[in-house]
């Protein structure tokens, strides 16, 4: 579970697998198990002494299951939010990564009996511990969580609070500490770790809800589910599971023996799947959310584009008319913004400079997209300005216009006509690139579609609806641009 440093996991997975292949005889069959190494302790994380090794109770449990099956465990790195879909595709046989036992998941993918019980707990700034005791105290306030979790569902159902889903489990707490959100609702294991890491946070002891972690099993491996359940029960009875959980500090508690007893006493299975919603009901439930997310995408993109155009014009004019040092500075800006990933820029603006200036997520999103696109816009305007023939400019100068007037009345209007088509292109590209802002907890259309698809267990309807909404936003832009171009070509009256 849970992403800590997004890229580290993939790196570890690649190195780990390579090291495994190099170090072991290929004779023993492998058990491919999926998890997200970016999730961190105590689930799956890189060993601080040996980055090629993974540690965590999910790692130990996967090893135990593999051993019982007479196989060698082989780790497959999968993004936390994609684990269910990956299991369905058959990318791995079993998945462990602090995966929650939810009805929606049970409907979609085979899940084992629970092996750990946890509490959903509310963490607030220590100064607010008496003010914000329950979710009911947080009306109109932002409460952060990890997207695609039970906690996110609870927040989504709680009227009044502004649910703020993140893609990872570290930034909700750091944003809580600096005041971007007022509370975090997540698993107590994550909350405990966060409170140790961040100063000034307090976790209320009461549970908002309880749930369990389960192993998901790929339907491409028939019979595997029963084997996993048997192994879990036997490990619960003989203390091996307890030993694994006790290895990680703060994980073992009194709730676990009760869970073990319940799971081993009866022939209990994974639990009820609950009433299954038809695709129509799911779609009806998600459609308003998609529309809202599309609206976010639209206004975010429009604001970012306005910013990009204004800054882009400034840069272009500076590069055409400025002094040598101005030109050098602006060229550097353009090359840096174009030469580094926009994702990195968003992280820097939102998290990187948070200790200096704490920007609201939406403002950071508009700034990040706007400043990045300004670099591209400026190149369009610069070449458009330079495409206006020098005799046009000379003609204007001879008429007595000042350089400022020449730019404003003659050069810029003609350049704008050249720039319109590439600008339209850029706006459509920006509309789509705006999906990247979900990394800084802005719930836009692509992210909402992903949540929709996870709930539905299929990408077909969510994918089609998402594509339709993006097209509905981009096609009118192209239409207006074509109309403008046509109008500028036609004769006009003074």
């Amino acid at each position: 579970m849970r992403r800590q440093v997004a890229f580290a996991g993939i790196l570890i997975a690649v190195i780990g697998v390579t090291a495994h292949l190099a170090g072991q005889a290929p004779a023993q069959p492998v058990l491919r198990w999926g998890g997200d190494a970016a999730g961190g302790a105590p689930f799956v994380q890189a060993d601080s002494h040996d980055l090629n090794r993974l540690v965590g109770f999910d790692v130990d449990l996967a090893a135990l299951i593999a051993r019982e099956l007479g196989r060698r465990p082989e780790f497959v790195q999968i993004t936390f939010q994609s684990l269910d879909q990956s299991a369905l595709r058959g990318d791995f046989a079993i998945g462990l990564s602090g995966i929650e036992n939810t009805a929606a998941r049970r409907r979609m993918v085979p899940t084992s009996i629970p092996y750990y019980e946890f509490k959903e707990v509310l963490t607030v700034r220590a100064a607010d511990r008496d003010r914000f005791k329950t979710l009911a105290d947080l009306g109109g306030r932002k409460v952060a969580t990890l997207s695609g979790t039970i906690a996110a569902d609870i927040l989504g159902r709680t009227a009044g609070v502004i649910a703020t889903p993140y893609d990872d489990d570290v930034y909700p707490y750091s944003d809580l500490a600096i005041g971007r959100v007022d509370a975090v609702l997540l698993d107590h294991l994550l909350a405990d770790r966060a409170v140790r890491r961040e100063k000034g946070l307090y976790t209320h002891p009461g549970a908002v809800a309880t749930s369990q972690y389960v192993v998901i099993v790929s339907p491409k491996h028939p019979g595997m589910l029963d084997l996993v359940n048997d192994i879990l029960r036997s490990a619960m009875r003989d203390g091996r599971l307890e030993a694994i959980l006790r290895k990680q500090p703060g994980v073992w508690n009194d709730d676990q023996p009760k869970l073990f007893q319940a799971m081993t006493a009866s022939n209990a299975t994974q639990g009820e799947t609950g009433p299954r919603l038809s695709w129509f009901e799911t779609t009806r439930a998600f459609f308003p959310k998609l529309l809202k997310a599309a609206w976010t995408t639209l206004w975010l993109s429009c604001l970012a584009m306005v910013g990009a155009v204004v800054v882009g014009i400034g840069i272009a004019v500076g590069r055409v008319y400025g002094s040598r040092s101005t030109r050098l500075m602006l060229t550097t800006y353009v090359e840096v913004m174009r030469g580094t990933p926009i994702l990195l820029q968003l992280f820097v603006i939102y998290y990187g400079i948070a200790s200096v200036i704490t920007l609201d997520a939406y403002i950071a999103a508009v700034l990040g997209l706007g400043l990045n696109y300004a670099a591209y816009e400026s190149e369009i305007y610069r070449s458009a300005l330079e495409a206006v023939s020098t005799t046009q400019l000379d003609a204007a100068r001879v008429l007595g216009l000042t350089e400022g007037q020449v730019l404003r009345l003659v050069r810029a209007p003609q350049a704008l006509r050249t720039a319109l088509a590439p600008m339209t292109n850029d706006f459509v590209a920006l509309l789509k690139d705006s999906s990247l802002v979900s990394v800084i907890a802005v719930p836009e259309l692509a992210k909402q579609t992903q949540i929709f698809a996870t709930n539905m267990g299929s990408w077909i309807i969510p994918g089609l609806m998402c594509a339709t909404l993006y097209l509905a936003m981009s096609l009118p832009v192209a239409y207006v641009a074509r109309r403008l171009e046509a109008r500028w070509k036609a004769p006009t009256t003074a």
Binding site: A396, R397, V398, L401, Q414, T493
Partner: protein
Amino acid sequence: MSTVLQVRGLWLRRGTRDILSGVDFEAARGELLVVMGLSGAGKSTVLRAIAGLEKLDGGEVHINGVELTAGLRTAASAALRRTIGMVFQSHSLFEHMTALDNVCLAQVHVLRLPRAEAVARARALLDQLGVGERADALPRELSGGESQRVAIARSLAMDPSLLLLDEPTASIDPARRNDLGLSLRRLAATGRALVLTSHDGDFVREHATRLVILAEGRIVEVGEPRKVLDSPLHPATRALLQRPAY
């Protein structure tokens, strides 16, 4: 005759090449002075230098008391441009504006005339030049001759005492050159000085009041047009006459 334009020792160097090497001439009110020369002789450069579009390396230009010298460009040229109009060979009408707006632009933004007055003056000028009915057309919808007349109207809107025209005969067919010549003579008669470049000997014979021959950045002959062209003294003038006018 009062002198409008005085050019003294005009010198222009680009890289290691001397484009103009000491050009002297004058133009008075009512005069229609033509500068002729082979391609590359520096004709257009002389006009651009007078209009303040080129940095001078030596010499000076006086126009109605305003002086332009080497090393001085922007400040002096701003004042200078108020008294000069220039019609480029390509006409260089502002492509995003109608003919009428081309003529109004500087009246509104330089002379600060109210828009209505600027429009009235522009329409009168376009009518006078025979393109009144093309006022609402965009430059790319105009023929070569029409856009030339709009460009002349645009310059005249600033009421310049000196009008420079670069190759005005090049963009119109021979049959209409006489009309152009008559129009230009009428303009000169209103008290302006006209300086133009041309390749067309017949046109020059018919309409110019004085002819200057330029060769390799120097003036090699000056005089009454028919006299200069009928009995050329300098090899450059003779070479010029052997070329077909285009």
